[in-house]
């Protein structure tokens, strides 16, 4: 079986590789947590690409029910068809709508299933999927049929920590917490995404970026995805590296800061600190 490694576009730390490979080998779900913007969702795409499997994405919303991932019985269309005298109405199977997990269980070749942002759903959601993810099978009451996975899919679950997940659910998963990358790793990540980025610009941008992350009291610290967006903007604008370089060690507001700071309180805070720094320094 091919193992998962860092790719040209996705830099995975060694511990992440071990976690993914353990989950793949033992066919258990992998739960991934971490700061927003550290590439949790990207991981599933990369794992699918690395192993050469198709990816089935199931994005969770606050109204998503566990049952919707398995199947739904469309009673309303059946009732309507019944009133219109449609012949289809006699077979209940016509009104069973398959969910994402059914698709995944039914696939001939192994697939990667991404259950994205599981914490968005109702608090009971993970509990309702316990057996399905453990045994990779479920029962369709309407047609008295048991759907069993032909090949156990690789399940990757992401969470943003908005809700606690139940212990019974956690016990069945491998867990990995993506830490915020340190500077060398970050340089590798940037290199992987923008191989033709000028070195001086990358270095200065990185300085500014880590400086911003160190500002105490930011509501949303910029993460990897913000840095990549910002670098892209800098490249498009063809910004010279000098504009980022500060003459003294104090902070200044970086150009195009909108890509890094995502709410007005943070921008405001930053402006205030920069102002104080200027006044103190000059």
């Amino acid at each position: 079986m091919p193992a998962f490694h860092s790719t040209e576009t996705y830099i995975a730390s060694r511990d992440l590789e071990v976690a993914v490979n353990a989950a793949v080998t033992l066919e258990r779900p992998l739960l991934v947590k971490g700061e927003p913007g550290t590439g949790k969702t990207m991981l599933a795409h990369e794992v699918a690409a690395a192993l050469g499997h198709p990816l089935i994405e199931w994005h969770i919303k606050s109204t998503t029910k566990a049952q919707q991932g398995l199947y739904e019985y469309d009673a309303v269309s059946r009732l309507r068809d019944g009133q219109l005298g449609d012949a289809r109405v006699h077979d209940i199977a016509n009104y069973i709508v398959r969910g994402k997990l059914w698709d995944a269980f039914d696939a001939e070749a192994p697939v990667v299933v991404l259950i994205d942002e599981i914490d968005k759903a109702d608090i009971e959601f993970p509990n309702d999927l316990l057996l399905e993810l453990d045994r990779m099978e479920f029962f369709v009451y309407e047609t008295r049929q048991t759907v069993i996975a032909r090949r156990r899919p690789i399940v990757i679950i992401t969470s943003n920590n908005e809700k606690e997940l139940p212990d019974a659910f956690l016990r069945r998963c491998f867990f990995h917490y993506i830490r915020f990358p340190d500077r060398p790793t970050m340089e590798k990540i940037v290199q992987a995404h923008y191989p033709d980025l000028r070195h001086d610009l990358a270095r200065e941008a990185m300085n500014v970026f880590f400086q911003i992350r160190d500002v105490p009291g930011l509501k949303k610290k910029p993460a990897t995805s913000e840095l990549l967006d910002w670098l892209k903007l800098l490249m498009v604008e063809d910004m010279p590296a000098e504009t980022l370089r500060t003459k003294d060690t104090h902070l200044v507001i970086p150009p195009l800061h909108g890509a890094l700071l995502k709410n007005e309180q943070d921008v405001h805070l930053f402006e205030r600190i920069a102002f104080l720094a200027r006044r103190g320094g000059g």
Binding site: R14, V18, A22, L26, T63, L79, Q83, F175, H176
Partner: protein, 392 residues
């Protein structure tokens, strides 16, 4: 060796079970970790730890178990009781300080010494120059004057692996997952719930559908309603530090219970009495405060307001401007309390001290008067009474 490891983890308070252990064994057998210790560390972490808050505890146990450090009962001693560290102040190691530490034989040596101390030490310690605690000159602990100080319980891990991570243990913010005893609180708080239908109509309203279909001469006419949600909104103001230290446990339980029971819950911390500013993060209570006015503006009168505090202080802290022990307050505590209780009609004060002692403390009597007697003891019965009061 491995079963010992599992047991040590269990003793250190990690929620590991046989299932996870078997998973780990399975993964080992499948050769996921190969023969590298580092990979084994990653693998076992991924199998056995299910919450990033436990990572650090795991690292410590891993460190002792696989360093040949005999400490069957030592693990428990290593679990730093948070009251040792409660007085911790921010003191992060700067590069210069790291240099200075070399004077003491280098960082590793200091960590080694720290580990020995942790194994030896049994109780809270204050002052002195050897033990870990507060206000001393020992290199370990908080509030100290030794430049080589190792700050126990810091915000982020600087040294990522195994025994060098002595981190994240400071409970300065109330820990939201004290499970023990929260169930009773939750049940008591449940009385506060108010259900209402809100949001997008997604549920079939059967009586209405039947009626509409009948009206429609038998042709189906679906009627939907929104789901029922708990719509009670709660503002929690928690007194922290000082005399509240001895009540931390019960406050944590209450806080955990509230957090799981209410969707619309906002909490703020204050010290002794609510004044013009409050904060949400105790580690940064000086840099990151929120004006109380802003709270009043942001959260409408439909919120229910609960103060949690012992209200034991000098009466001047309530009645006079500038009476606060910590800063110069332009307006007295009583003005602020009045302002808040008049904005939030449904308000109550939970007091962790026993109710029969209230009348002997002047500040409690004043507060109770200001709260129009809506002060309740922080016990099950008290919460029960409070919910009844707040449901009116």
């Amino acid at each position: 060796m491995f079963p010992t490891f599992l047991l040590s983890l269990k003793q250190a308070g990690l929620p590991v079970s046989v299932t996870e252990y078997l998973t780990l064994m399975g993964a080992m057998k499948a050769g996921v970790a190969g023969y590298s210790v580092e990979d084994f560390y990653y693998l076992s972490r991924s199998c056995l730890v299910k919450d990033e808050r436990h990572l650090d505890r795991f690292d410590r146990v891993f460190g002792t178990c696989f360093k040949g450090l005999e400490s069957a009962e030592g693990i428990e001693a290593r679990e730093l009781p948070e009251d040792w560290l409660r007085k911790l102040v921010e003191k992060l190691l700067s590069p210069e300080e790291m240099e200075e530490i070399k004077a003491l034989g280098g960082f590793d040596a200091i960590m080694e010494r720290l580990r020995e101390l942790l194994a030896e030490q049994k109780g809270r310690h204050q002052g002195g120059s050897k033990w870990i605690g507060t206000a001393g000159t020992s290199p370990f602990g908080g509030y100290g004057y030794n430049p080589e100080g190792v700050r126990i319980g810091q915000k982020e891990s600087r040294h990522r692996r195994a025994v060098k991570v002595w981190d994240k243990r400071d409970f300065r913010d109330l820990d939201g997952d004290v499970e023990l005893g929260t169930r009773n609180f939750r049940v008591a708080l449940r009385r506060l719930r108010r259900f209402a239908r809100q949001g997008a109509p997604t549920e079939l309203d059967i009586p209405d559908t039947v009626r509409a279909t009948a009206n429609n001469a038998g042709m189906l006419d679906l009627k939907l309603v929104a789901e029922r949600h708990n719509t009670v909104k709660l503002l929690l103001f928690l007194d922290i530090g000082g005399s509240m230290d001895e009540h931390v446990k019960v406050c944590e339980e209450l806080f955990s219970a509230c957090r799981t029971e209410f969707k619309h819950l906002e909490y703020f911390y204050f010290h002794n009495y609510p004044y013009e500013k409050v904060w949400k993060d105790n580690r940064r209570r000086y840099e990151k405060t929120i004006p109380t006015w802003e709270v009043l503006r942001t959260y409408g009168p439909d919120y229910r307001l609960i103060f949690v505090g012992d209200a034991a202080m000098s009466p001047y802290e309530i009645t006079t401007a500038g009476g606060s022990v910590e800063h110069w307050n332009e307006e007295s505590g009583r003005v602020w309390l009045d302002r808040m209780t008049s904005h939030y009609r449904r308000a109550a004060w939970l007091n962790p001290t026993p109710a029969n002692s209230w009348e002997f403390v002047q500040s409690i009597s004043i507060t109770r008067q200001l709260m129009e007697r809506r002060m309740f003891p922080l016990t099950l019965a008290g919460i029960d009474e409070m919910t009844r009061e707040l449901s009116r």
